[in-house]
C-alpha cells in the first residue's frame, strides 16, 4: 500500500524531470504539459501499482511514455498538421541557453526518435541501460545498440558540421524531439 502523502511528495519532486522528458518526446511545451498532467493523474490513480523502494522516476517515465504512444500522440497528431512548424519555431532556446550548444541541438534533432530517446534516458536522465530498456519496453541489447548508433552518428555530424552557419531559428527544445516535432519514426 502506497502512502499518499509520500507519493505526492515524490510526484512533486519528479515534476521537472517528467516535464523535461515530455518536452523531449513531444517537442512542444504545451503538449508536454498536457502529457505531464495526464501522467500525474494516471500515476495518482494507480499509485498502488508503484512498489515503494523502487525507482519512482522510472515508473513515472514509463507511464508518461506509454501515455504518449498509446493515446496522446494520436490525439495531438490530428490538430498538429499545419501548426507543427510554427509551434516548433515558437519554442526557442531559453534566454540563458548557450548558443554554443546550437550545433549540438541541431545534430540531436536529426537522430531517429528511438535513438534520441535512448540517449537522453541514459546519457542525460541518469537511467541505467536496464531501466531505459524497461521504460521503452524493449530489450537491453536494443537500448545499447540505439545508444551506440546515436553516439556514432552525433560524432559524425558534429565533426562535419562544426563551424557551419546555422540560422537564428535553429530548433532548440524542439531539437530534443527531432526535426519532425516528435513521434516514433525510425528511418
Amino acid at each position: 500500500m502506497t502512502d499518499p502523502d509520500r507519493f505526492k511528495d515524490a510526484l512533486l519532486a519528479e515534476l521537472q524531470s517528467l516535464r523535461a522528458f515530455a518536452i523531449s518526446i513531444t517537442g512542444n511545451v504545451e503538449r508536454a504539459d498536457d502529457l505531464v498532467q495526464d501522467t500525474v493523474v494516471k500515476a495518482w490513480t494507480n499509485m498502488n501499482g508503484y512498489t515503494e523502494g523502487t525507482n519512482i522516476r522510472a515508473w513515472l517515465f514509463t507511464i508518461l511514455r506509454n501515455t504518449f504512444y498509446s493515446d496522446f500522440r494520436k490525439r495531438s497528431r490530428e490538430v498538429e498538421d499545419d501548426g507543427a512548424h510554427a509551434s516548433r519555431l515558437a519554442v526557442h532556446a531559453p534566454q540563458h541557453g548557450h548558443m554554443d550548444l546550437e550545433d549540438f541541438r541541431r545534430a540531436l534533432a536529426q537522430l531517429p526518435d528511438d535513438q534520441r530517446e535512448a540517449l537522453i534516458l541514459v546519457g542525460a536522465s541518469g537511467f541505467s541501460y536496464e531501466e531505459a530498456a524497461e521504460i521503452c519496453g524493449c530489450a537491453l541489447g536494443t537500448i545499447k545498440s540505439r545508444i551506440n548508433r546515436a553516439r556514432a552518428r552525433l560524432g559524425e555530424m558534429l565533426s562535419v558540421t562544426s563551424g557551419a552557419d546555422f540560422g537564428p531559428d535553429a530548433d532548440s527544445y524542439a531539437a530534443l524531439a527531432g526535426a519532425d516535432g516528435g513521434g516514433a519514426k525510425t528511418d
Binding site: P4, K8, L11, L12, L15, Q16, S17, R19, A20, I23, S24, D33, D34, V36, Q37, D38, V40, V41, W44, T45, A93, P94, H96, G97, H98, D100, L101, D103, F104, R105, L108, L119, I120, G123, A124, S125, R151, L154, G155, L158, S159, V160, S162, G163, Y173, A175, L176
Partner: protein
Amino acid sequence: MISPQFPDVTFRLKKAANMDRHKPATVVDARQEARQTDGAQSPAGDDVVQQAIGSQLRAVYDEVVRLPVPDRFLSLLSSLDGRPTLPASGKEQES
C-alpha cells in the same frame, strides 16, 4: 580546406578560445585535444569526442530540466486527495 579523408585535420578552432567560458567542451575541442595529446584518429581520441558529446547532451537537457514548473501542476497536486478524480487534460488549464 575541408578534406573529407582527414576531417580532424581541418579543424583549427583554438581550444584556448573556449577554455575560459562556462560551457561544455565541443566535439571540435575534443578532437583538437585528442590530436595534441595522442595523435589523430586514435581510439583515445574517440573517447574524448564521446565525452564531449556526453557533456553537451547533459548541458542541453539540463537547460530544459531547469525550466520552472508551471503553477498548474502545483494546483493539480494539491487538488489530489485520497479519492482521485480525473480532471480533463488539455487546453483549458487554470492559469
